[in-house]
Symmetry: C2
Subunit: 379 residues, 2 copies
């Protein structure tokens, strides 16, 4: 069997407030083209189809379109599971009908034990689940962690192994030894959420979702695909794309294919003057997401406002060498006791962000200060 | 063609805070039994499948189960549309797959113009829509009301009429001359939302949803099915059920079939003492929803608390003859100016409801009074 392995689409996700639906459609179009060009037997999506349990109407519309195109128009078999970001019950709507056209969407633990056979390959689609689901399914009170649960789950799955076939597990968890980045939601604390690799050794390939970095785990046959897009600043150096996997009982061959983003995350380093210079900014693609690293140390009035006029998609501004204490502008110059809490907060905000409070922000600040003062009075 | 006509399921709706999911499943089971017994060719559901655009996970789970049973297990064709309570985009998830098993779920205006043919009948499934959808579809700026929109929509539908066949319209709106009750959401004001019956005369049957009273409109071939359950106190005298319709080009025969509720809405009239008497309350089915009409006029301490101990599902208590001014208990006895606003409000609440404030209610009251006082101070 030859398949495409992707995961963590997070449809509807925003990056620092920027809507990514167009970027997600742009990546999707490359995935579908690649699947056709590589003549795969199907597409594996290893969880986190949506970014939230109740996705926005826009996100639902975009995802519905994608799946219609993938499965009904291009007739590509789809093997998908729900991830920790999805609501399994909401996502399962339509599931029993999808099968008619080889779109398998597993959202419940017990569905993992019904393998789907494609040629000489058995696919086991194990959705994200909580230990309690396994505790109830196996009627065993000792199952309190994902590690323990996976002992039972993999044993149960192996009962359905047919010999002479390749065995593929599709799942969504944190595999031992992987490296996390910022944009993955932590499942639990204290390592209870970690699945040891030894439990996964009997599969010919494990198609994982959850971590957004394809290199989070380096193992021949246990792989994260990573997300098709960069979903946080901390992912800016990661290579994004999908795996094309050729699997048989004897061998497993992997090839990574990059996805070109609609808008890249770029780092811009320089002085404010350099970055605001027309010759410079006209030489680069300004629709990209910019992470700006200013080398100046002086206070720059209205800095964000001016930068945003030039760079519409700024993710953040960092002062590489910190900021100098420009005595004139700073609050310590005046007697702080003479300032009202509102005025003091306003000045602090402006010094830290180099932006003025919007009227909405000023209102929030006012309300918060009022509420603190009342509590003080109430004592 | 022989079909069952129902509408306004409002899965997830609550009645005065009481969860109705079990009542809705109970009604659904009768609908499915009736459909089988009457050997219908399909089930029409004329909108408002859910009660809210974002239904709860429980509601989604129950509705998914129902539709699986109806269409996949019992193999009944389903002809459904979205209503004003549904989110058309959320509801359309899975739609293109549903057709494979004769489950037609129309959520967009333009889908009304693709008739579904069953034997000698053409079904036109017209979902609830806003005038702007018709204005854009017909590219005509004069379409500002549902009445105007329906002129265009019915003309467009009629272009697809095949002669020699019966023509059925499934839709969800307020038809001229209908009588509204409390639990239907008003669409617009000033009659702009009303569809004249003349526009509907060319259909052999119009299966409507939106109004919960099957008798809201008395017309041979234009009918509301009403909701399968009573969804408000004002619906307590309505007969609830579904239509079984036999339709051909020559004739249209209707038969109404009642649905037995799991919990009926009952009116109980008497004195507090009578209603609290064991011989009385043990003679009736106390799981029903009770609307209690007290004939006493005196103040009864802890009345609601005592009544709820006997009747778990109280929708409301009415004092048929009002209440006497029991001078001892009432606020006018004391000098109101001596009471704090909080104390005054607390006494007023207790006199009106015959219940004490809960600690949560007292907290809300306190916060509201605080906020009023601050605004006063701010002037």
């Amino acid at each position: 069997m030859r398949f495409l392995h992707t995961a963590d689409w997070h449809i509807g996700k925003k990056l620092h407030g920027y809507n990514l639906l167009e970027d997600q459609l742009h990546a999707f179009n490359q995935i579908i083209q690649l699947a056709k060009k590589e003549a795969v037997d199907g597409i594996i999506i290893a969880g986190d189809l949506y970014d939230r349990s109740v996705p926005s109407v826009d996100a639902v519309e975009v995802f519905n379109q994608m799946i219609i195109e993938l499965n009904l128009e291009e007739k590509l078999p789809v093997f998908a599971i729900s991830g920790n970001h999805d609501s399994s019950i909401r996502l399962e709507t339509g599931g029993p009908w999808f099968k008619q056209s080889d779109f398998y969407l597993h959202t419940r633990l017990e569905q993992a034990f019904q393998p789907i056979e494609v040629g000489d390959t058995q696919l086991f689609l194990l959705p994200y689940f909580e230990p309690i689901a396994a505790r109830l399914y196996f009627e065993n009170d000792e199952i309190r962690t994902i590690e323990k649960a996976m002992e039972f789950v993999t044993a149960e799955i192996k009962k359905n192994f047919k010999s002479g076939m390749a065995h593929v597990l599709v799942s969504h968890f944190f595999a031992a030894g992987s490296a996390k980045s910022d944009s993955e939601t932590k499942l639990t604390v204290g390592g209870l959420d970690t699945v040891p690799l030894d439990l996964l050794r009997d599969f010919d390939y494990v198609a994982l979702g959850h971590l957004h970095n394809k290199d989070a785990l380096i193992s021949d046959q246990i792989r994260y695909s990573g997300s098709p897009l960069k979903f946080s600043l901390s992912e800016r150096k990661q290579e994004k794309g999908v795996w094309i996997v050729d699997i048989s009982e004897q061998s497993c061959q992997l090839e990574f294919h990059r996805i070109q983003p609609l808008r890249e995350i770029k780092e811009l380093q320089g002085t404010f003057q350099e970055l605001a210079k027309q010759e410079f900014y006209e030489s680069i693609d300004r629709k990209d997401f910019m992470f700006i690293q200013l080398t100046d140390r002086s206070v720059i009035p209205n800095m964000m406002y001016q930068l945003r006029k030039v760079y519409p998609n700024i993710l953040g501004v960092e002062r590489v060498y910190g900021r100098e204490n420009d005595q004139k502008g700073l609050t310590k110059d005046v007697n702080m006791k003479q300032l009202s809490p509102l005025e003091l907060s306003r000045q602090f905000f402006e010094e830290m962000t180099e932006e003025e409070l919007t009227s909405q922000q000023e209102q929030w600040l006012n309300e918060s200060l009022d509420s603190v003062q009342q509590k003080e009075r109430g004592k």
